[in-house]
Amino acid sequence: MREDLERLLERLVHASVLERVAISFAALLAAILLGGVLVFVSGAFATCRSGLDLAGATFCYNPMQVYYELFLGALGHPLEGGWELHNYNLATTLRQTTLLIFAGLSVAVAFRAGLFNIGTQGQLVVGGLTTAVTVLFAASYLPSGFVGTVLLVPIGVLAGAVGGGFYGAIPGALKAYAGANEVITTIMLNFIAVGVTSTLLSWRFQDPASDNPQTRAVPEYAEIPNLPLVGFSPRMNFSLLALGFAIALIVGIAWLLARTAFGYELRTTGVQPAAAAYGGVDEKRMTVASMTLSGALGGIGGAFWVLMEHGRWLENVPDLGFDGIAVSILAGNNPLGVGFAAFLFGVLDSGSNSINTATDVPPELVGVLSGTIILFVAMPEFFRMIGRRYVDLEDSVPARSTGGEADD
């Protein structure tokens, strides 16, 4: 039994890329099956006018319909008549994907440096407000129209990066120079971010025309522009340009980690700080630098949330930063994986909306369903992570003491 388990684990650790993709799909299927049973059985405890009568009970929910809405609803029901590529549901999916890419990259970069940044949420909140305030301020000095867009959008994104980066540098410096654990400080700074931004809002930046806690709207030309012809309608609050920028950032971060001296130092610090110090890395500066980079990525997420989704900063910021943690873990903290993980989250998010409008299944159950899917898809990679340590340990017992015997 134990041996079978070990063999299985070893097989998993040494799986090829193709096998890993296959495993992920198998996990997805298994999750769908289990979730389907869950939804179906839950239907017996609900009351409804019409349902499937079976063995004396009435099953209210149809799992097939639920999955149809979850996956195809997220794309805007492509199999139904009158489908257009540029539909609202797909825009929601891709908007969520874009924002989660920024948040996921933020968490992943910190993870690779050996830091657990729970503060992406706070960095996103601060970055978002910085963007809104900066753009509102700069817009009064700059021309409108196309020139305004070209100038204001980069300024806004940069402002978000600076604001988030600064807010990430704080826990970095606290860790480096005062030894404060970054998990604790980033959690606390999340609360501080909410408090400080809402105070600032009521002090100076509140939109006088509204009762909602929000800033004034940035001029329309300062929002992320939509591409002509292939782009989505401005009403859908999603721009392909933003998605393109997010994907470019994925490639950029992957390149930074793999090819540059800074990335090498960051990764070395993450896996073995003593070796990094030996190799001439100043650990304190690296801690601050990687937290700043992580915070800047979170801040960019805030900037796009402001400039793409709402055109203004609202006090009620969604939990993108916390979802970013899940995205990063699902992606194994690999920048390239973050893209796919963010898309899965985008689909689940948008699909859930679709289920809520089209069926009677309660939102709580939909939450359980998407949670199950995330759990299942993440588990194989998780076991690989565990298994790699275990299998290495097994291998190294003979190898390390043999003096490089033939077995390695």
């Binding site: 090819r259 070796a275 110090a277 290495d392 003491s401 490089g404 015997e405 033939a406 077995d407 390695d408």
Partner: protein, 536 residues
Amino acid sequence: MTGSETATNDARADEELAVHLDGITKRFPGVVANDDVDLRVERGSVHALLGENGAGKTTLMNVLYGLYEPTEGRVLVDGTERSFDRPRDAIDAGVGMIHQHFMLVETMTVAENIALGNEPRKWGGLAVDRGRIDREVRDLCDRYGFDVDLSATVAELSVGARQRVEILKALYRGADVLIFDEPTAVLTPQEVEDLYGVFEELTERGKTIVFITHKLGEAMHAADGVTVLRDGRAVASVEPAETTREELAELMVGREVLLEADSDPVETGDPVLSAANVTVEDDRGVEAVSGIDLEVRAGEVFGIAGVDGNGQSELIEAITGLRTPDGGTVRFDGEDVTDWSRRRRIEGGMAHVPEDRHEQGLVMPFDLVENAVLGSQRSARFARSGRIDWADVRDHAEDVIGTYDVRPPDADAHAESLSGGNQQKFVVGRELERDPELAVATHPTRGVDIGSTEFIHERLLDLRREGKAVLVVSSNLDEVQALSDRLAVIYEGEFVAVTDPDDVTEEELGLLMAGERPDERTQPARAGSADAGGER
């Protein structure tokens, strides 16, 4: 058994042999690790299995211990043929193994560790019978003269004491044959002597010992019989009394070996490294180095000998920039570098073979290509405006692997998959090929086989010949004595002597390392700090 002049008397009945491996062959995909190996060990004797890294010693012992199944051949314990599927079977047959890396739970007590997995039960198997454990373990300690505090947690114990716990664990499980994998690799010279004492106690009471080693001196000194392995074959089985070190070395390596590194005098130049009145505190804030002065000149090898834990690590860290000294100055190439960062010192031409290759010298989960650039990731040689040229780095990694005979010769292998000796070779190679002005090497050949040791020594002497400065720290007296032009002995954070290594005998050095000053033949009156090793 090829080339065995003093072959064991075949007429001797097999029952007298505690262990008899008969024609063991072990193949791994693509390689033969053991090729028709015979091993005969008499009951109540100490047998050394001698060979270089990768000769197949540990594979053979893993066959005996049931970790590997032999491809061919028979395993006989006490004259009975056995087939072990797993270590448990070997333990049941009375074979115990003491691994190089101890398998102890640090947070548990000595007694708990010894009984772990074999706890006697009471109350119908519901509870562990601690009283019985204590009684039985105490009996064992008394019988073999072990002095171990049973209620101490393993974390509190010195390395030597941990090893004794491992031995007790094997004895507690009823082992009659004890296999030791490189038992002296982690011990201080004094602890090594103690271990030989333990060997004697054990064999007097009828236990049989097989130990793996690549050190000639140990095999000559401690063993009743020696089997030499080379490239997976048993090339000879001899008794130490009937052979010489040179002969054994040749059997091991397959060619003649110079045991003494030859260091002809070289003109020394200006001081490259000088430290004045350097004081360093360790992690706990205890003064580990107290006002040391030292000077290493161009064209000179300066050696520091001492028992581990006497401040040499902290001194080296202060010199290489890994730790800030609490007082004094360090000058390098005429400049005051006391406040220089580690990176600046590397760029200034300081190479460093660190004490701990697992923690510092190598990034374990990275492959050798990535490890080849550690320390040079920002140097003009490999990086162009912050971008690392990985193709260049790969060439460099392959050079180091080839030149220093790192096995397996695969740049894509992860550092953690290499054996200790090969990891060390790679680190030494990377550092010495930096073309440094000053090479600081701590235990440069720890865990390395003698063929490669010879090569590393030659390379260090080459640097010296090129007019570079070399600082060597080692607890291996042969090594520092052979390499150094000047030799300092460190004890409790101070140099107790700086001499010409040819003017002192090994015994005198041993006494100096133990804290006896040349001018006084009594223990220094200084109150011993709570330092690890201070009590030795």
